[in-house]
Subunit: 524 residues, 2 copies
């Protein structure tokens, strides 16, 4: 399959733009094959208008056909075979095993969402039957269910070129909810984006889905993404990326004549608390696990543990092992030269902060966008005085923050802003002694991990990959797991409808056999 | 019980403000007994800080105690007896029967929410059990449930002095979700607010709830409300009122250092489509029902039908009966002189719009804030050319918009902005012929009513009182019905927690016997 470098307005490819860009191999710094055009205003408008036309049809497609379509996308991605893995490796420097694993995650995610669509109960159907004889006033027949919102703008993420890009979690959520999608591909991996998109087009064709159910536009500049979010026909936005990027889209969306929800997952520092008993019992083992978590995927995960909180008097052995582990780390190649530069800049900023010292540095990877891991130490006092120390550093780095005593550790938890996750390592006794900590963290994060590491976000029904601002722009949602599809739906209520006009999920005889809340009772 | 005119910082009353205001009797225009202070910055800060302290305790209170507290509020409101109804009549000019009905709705709402809290399944508990032997990677034990967000700011509405004011739907939702509340009372009925608040304080006392679980501040100016929304400890906002007010709070909340969700229900025009067969079969009867709906409560409902869409050639008899009904209407007294003035201003604006004529006007009520009902007619063409005709007029008024044919009626639906409700009157044949209309309206409103009227919003499990902007600032929520409590909660995920540390809703043996999604299967 030859890459085209073109935008895709549904099935039609387009090449209006005069500004061109290429991807670069982060290993070598060399430009990769195929020039991509910066999407023009006309191309973006055409994609959104077609997404609206397609939505009117796609929203009416039954659960089974929608599920088959989503499964077919998974099959078509697998059918790309080595071609996809090869191009993704070239564009991201992520190793083959990681990308194959991520592909597995991506198709598994699509198949799980398809299963939930097929089962059908996710729409939260509720029925309050009429009470014609109620006094003083009769009650109408009132039913509600979640309905798709309309065309969704999805922004591909740099760090998950498969699982959170073109056919990633946001797109899967939108399709599952019954929405159509216009994707803004990430400019660091346009070839990977095109390959996956064309696999999706095969699924559109094979499943006879309406043209425009999905489109793909490219761009390095801000303009295409801004235009997408401002387009009056776009009804919601899914984004994974930097705080600056996500927050800018959030502000744009709120300034529209008709504001729309932005589900931006903007990363965080994911504090890890290691309590004294755990430090004593297995500090060395935790240090090994932590070093692995910090450096996993060259630290390019939203859930990378960037703050480690310990009580100083119990942390000596832990720190020593952590220093050794990091020192032995071979480093890695980051996704892009720009990301490497940002990482270096962040390390500089931290190094220059008062009361911060370097605990350990790893070996530098010998590649164009190569970096080394780095661990700092500081005190809770400094963290409170320089809150920018808690800002995300995208890369294999972390700061060990030492508390003088329990009270200071708790105080550090209290001053935290919103994060995606928090982790506590503790013995049974620790967890009893520090129970207060859990109560504090429940208000700060989307997910609390006990005696584990925050990296490795399971795609399942109970996952919350979200959290209070600034981790995300919507703390009431998750971008990973099956609840993610609810981001792109809203409740609609049907009062006194004749049965024939009701959506299948709300019909009297429950033709879909889904779980429904009938007069307050859950039943099927 | 003597009114005090004071702010309530939890149980402590306070009187720092130097600016005083009174309520006015809209019947007579006379100032009512008791001066209320404009809450000072210190008082508001104290109320929010106390709400935060109380939240840390209140969020941990078990379902049964929380339900008993909410039920006790209902009992205490009833115990106020005639005193409450009398003061509310004086402050709002709403008739006794209406206020007694609204009181019934208010306590019914509290009791329904208590029932849902006691049952417990509303928290959407989800459990994905660990798979230690899964290949290539084991799965952790992952659980999620909804948790309360923190102190909530609630703004009392003018038009529901009981059901959407101090102990109304927003406060009931917040208490049910486990949040504490600081209420900004509506300045048109401060005495009603104080009485209801003190009933709540009795419940706080009797149920030994933490001091500060609820506070009440007053103010005529914008400052107290703005300060409340901007306070860093406030986590969410519930508001029912004007577009201007709600939108201003939405903008303020988004401009905070940490933005918070604003659930503002800002009213709408609630279009009613009357299809040709229905017009022919029972146009007169629909006209009678519509006149009653337009003038109900002096038109002071968010769901008041302000736009009526018909095909001109079938509408003659309907218009004639509607004109007579409105002409015979005795008018009524609005909630405040300001609201009366705004109503007059809106009528003037519509009267002066090109291609709009008066169909009929009712009799004026002989009271200080008295008004008469008024119906206009215009064409779909004019509605499209002058979209401000679709803006809400708060009062007993409506515009009959005539289409030349089916296509124009459908076109009118397409150009609608977001509304709370839409209504379709049609015969079985009409509904078949105009099925497209339902598809369009599903994307424009929160609730579609068939062969009924939009006024009369049932408090039940399936109600959606919400809709796309500008009807609300959050189309994914409802402010009426039991789903309203989800506005003030967000999902938190617990990974690999020991059973003892899990919230009761997530413990392995399901001690609350609630419905949970376990590995994707609903079970209890």
């Amino acid at each position: 399959m030859q890459l085209t470098g073109r935008q895709y307005i549904g099935k039609r490819s387009s090449n209006e733009g005069v500004d061109l860009f290429t991807a670069y191999n982060p290993m070598t710094g060399e430009a990769l094959e195929c020039h991509y055009g910066e999407a023009t205003a006309q191309e973006i408008d055409a994609a959104v208008v077609l997404a609206e036309t397609a939505f009117v049809k796609y929203r009416e497609i039954n659960n089974e056909s929608r599920a088959v379509f989503i499964e077919c996308i998974a099959d078509e991605i697998m059918a790309l075979g080595e071609l996809l893995i090869k191009r993704a490796m070239d564009e991201t420097a992520l190793p083959q095993a990681r990308l194959e694993g991520e592909r597995g995650r991506t198709v598994g995610q699509l198949r799980l969402f398809a299963k939930v669509v097929r089962e059908g109960s996710w729409v939260d159907a509720r029925i309050d039957p009429a009470m014609p004889d109620r006094k003083p006033l009769p009650r109408s027949d009132i039913r509600q269910m979640l309905r798709p919102m309309g065309p969704v703008a999805v922004f591909g993420a740099s760090n998950f070129p498969l699982a959170f890009s073109v056919a990633g979690g946001d797109t899967a959520s939108a399709f599952a909810a019954g929405c159509t999608v216009v994707i803004k591909g990430h400019p660091a991996h346009p070839g990977t984006s095109e390959l996956v998109f064309r696999a999706m087009l095969n699924a559109v064709e094979k499943c006879a889905m309406p043209d425009g159910v999905v489109s793909l536009v490219h761009g390095v500049g801000h303009q295409p993404g801004m235009q997408l979010v401002q387009h009056p026909l776009i009804q919601a936005v899914g984004f994974t990326g930097s705080f600056r990027g996500g927050n800018a889209l959030f502000d744009l969306a709120n300034a529209r004549q008709v504001p729309i929800p932005v589900f931006a997952e903007m990363g965080s520092t994911n504090p890890v608390f290691i309590l004294p008993g755990a430090l004593k019992d297995r500090g060395e083992k935790i240090a090994e696990g932590l070093a692995a978590s910090v450096t996993l995927g060259v630290g390019q995960f939203c859930t990378n543990p960037g703050l480690v909180l310990v009580e100083a008097n119990a942390a000596t052995a832990f720190k020593s092992v952590l220093a050794n582990e990091i020192n032995a780390n071979a480093g890695g190649t980051m996704l892009t030269a720009g990301i490497r530069n940002a990482y270096s800049g962040s390390l500089d900023r931290i190094s220059k902060t008062k009361d911060v010292s370097v605990l350990s540095e790893g070996q530098p990877a010998k590649s164009s966008a190569g970096v080394s891991a780095k661990i700092f130490t500081t005190s809770v006092k400094a963290l409170i005085e320089y809150p920018e120390l808690a800002e995300e550093v995208f890369g294999p780095s972390s700061i060990v923050v030492e508390a003088s005593a329990k009270e200071e550790l708790i105080e550090a938890a209290r001053v935290l802003e919103g994060h995606l996750t928090a982790t506590i390592h503790g013995t049974a006794e620790d967890l009893q002694d520090y129970q207060e900590l859990i109560g504090i963290l429940e208000r700060k994060v989307g997910r609390i991990v006990i005696n584990g590491f925050p990296t490795g976000v399971e795609v399942c029904h109970a996952m919350v990959h979200g959290g209070p601002y600034p981790a995300t722009t919507n703390s009431q949602s998750t971008s990973v797991g099956t609840n993610a599809m609810k981001r792109f739906a809203r409740p609609v209520c049907y009062q006194d409808f004749p049965d024939t006009l009701l959506p299948a999920a709300l019909k009297q005889n429950n033709p879909l056999s889904i779980w429904r809340l009938v007069d307050g009772e859950m039943m099927r």
